[in-house]
Symmetry: C2
Subunit: 329 residues, 2 copies
């Protein structure tokens, strides 16, 4: 497919000149204009949808609100959502929430005046629906399409595209128990995260399935950070807690746990097996390679784009996850 | 400082109602209006700058064009730039380039019509200045402020905020040589990256300083990906190349190299030392912990904000880097 660069080269003008000729805005000499139009015909050039979207202005933009762009789960999602939206001629405006409820509230409040096509809300933080609910309804009443990514808000009237959480964790923990790796600890029960809570429930369900009672000393409620995983696992090992596996709420926590285990001279997986959650890029290259639970941001992005393209789409889409068996469990 | 939530709570109304009262837009009953204004006075509430910025629309937004948002260097940068711009009442629009010269060209071409305050260009890809130069000048002629992040474009009239590259690599390689770790291989010479080229030149300079000729078999030109680092290092080890250290152009490459070295039963750093570049979060928690070269996205963001705030700022700002000595070298 010919690009604006091809047209500019063939016509012997700059891309800016091509743009001026095609948009009819700005002055272009008649000779240059002729050369551009002739090049457009010769190459059968079609101005691309992205450029058209950009020129239409922000009525063609979707605001993507993410929990923390520095976390890989959100940066990978952002990349895929931007690509998928670009494919339907929509642009992306990114808002980083930094897990701040006040920032979320401020942005939602301002959004109706921002000329957006819609808002995609990608945060796993438990939402204060007494505040956020009316704001989301206000957005919808203003004609904006709102889609939730990662968190189930379909019962609040917000179509949601989420990953499997509880059942994926349940299968992973069942695999650990069936491999004789019990007792299994849980690292990263996050009471403030809707997704963290679901993953923990999967752990609890797998233990229940096996007739095992939950040992509170083996459930560590920490934030999703490398250092938090390192510290919680170190404390448990130093206190002599007995466990032969750790199911983690994220890959970051899993890496912290692996470092703590290795620093104390224990072998992974022989002494302690570790499973992460989320399949971040580095997981396949740490040693031992991290066994984890898959993520599919491209599938999420495609379903989100379905909503913004006005294609038929269910109120709740659940993207499946699978266990990626590598070296650590 | 009181927030819009505090005002809403004290007045017993929703934040949307507070917003309507303060903006004078939309219907609010007289009683609720009185309660809001009384709460505003009681709490000495000042509407925050971010909300004001959002309401002003995109004239208060800066377009941030990043090479690849999924790479940690860009996601960390994005987070810090958004925070720093928010501090001066500016919003951020993110454009992910995906290392595509055509996408860059399309966005730069459309930017003057997008109502932005300015553009921050954060890509280390070598730019085709014959195309990009005129587009940048067209942006500036349209009254937009353009700032380059990571790449030196000050000689093209674009103020630039960059990290130290060549000299930082030179010091790291000198450290390896002085520690008796030679021969030192270089992983990740990226001829298509302005920054990659600079880092490689630092390696070459350190070898020159020590009177060592460059061995082409020990310079591996690969992309900045885990798998590329793994494969290049594996090939060199399997071919029996002799080296006792690898200076890498990125932390991702370094992790790939470490996996290749460990998979072949060699010890890090005793058999082969490894130094990364860029100090990504997981580097401190892999084992051995990755010795690397620091990065300071907060400092970059602060200097970028200086430009957009109209504060006095040099045409070229260089943020220093230091060697972070951990376990791998």
């Amino acid at each position: 497919m010919a690009t604006v660069l091809d047209v500019a080269r063939l016509a012997g003008v700059s891309t800016a000149t091509v743009s001026r000729v095609l948009s009819g805005k700005g002055n272009v000499g008649e000779a240059a204009r002729e050369r551009v139009l002739s090049a457009v015909r010769a190459l059968d050039f079609q101005p691309n949808r992205m450029a058209q979207g950009l020129r239409r202005g922000h009525g063609s933009a979707v605001g993507l609100l993410v929990g923390d762009i520095e976390q890989n789960v959100y940066s990978a999602l952002t990349k895929h959502v931007q690509t998928a939206l670009g494919g339907i001629g929509l642009d992306l405006m990114l808002y980083n929430l930094d897990h701040s409820a006040e920032r979320l509230s401020t942005i939602l409040e301002a959004a109706p005046a921002m000329g957006l096509r819609g808002v995609a809300l990608a945060t796993t933080d438990v939402l204060a629906m007494a505040t956020v609910g009316p704001q989301l309804r206000q957005l919808q009443a203003s004609g904006l399409l709102v889609v939730s990514i990662g968190q189930r808000l379909h019962r609040e009237g917000v179509p949601s595209v989420v990953h499997e959480e509880r059942s994926a964790a349940r299968r992973a923990v069942a695999y650990l128990l069936e491999s004789g790796r019990g007792p299994v600890a849980y690292l990263g029960r996050l009471s403030g995260s809707a997704v963290g809570t679901e993953r923990y429930r999967g752990y609890a369900a797998a233990l229940g399935d096996a007739g095992i009672a939950i040992d509170r000393d083996l459930v560590w409620d920490v934030s999703y950070r490398f250092a938090a995983g390192y510290e919680a696992t170190s404390r448990a090992l130093d206190a002599g807690r007995r466990f032969h596996a750790v199911q983690c709420g994220s890959d970051e926590l899993a890496l912290g746990a692996m470092a703590a285990i290795q620093d104390r001279g224990f072998a992974i997986p022989d002494d302690v097996a570790v499973i992460g959650f989320g399949a971040i890029g580095w997981g396949g290259h740490v040693r031992p390679a991290l066994t984890t639970i898959s993520v599919d941001p491209a599938a999420v992005a495609a379903r989100v784009a379905d909503h913004f393209a006005g294609r038929e789409a269910p109120a709740l889409t659940i993207i499946p996850r699978t266990l990626l068996r590598r070296g650590s469990a």
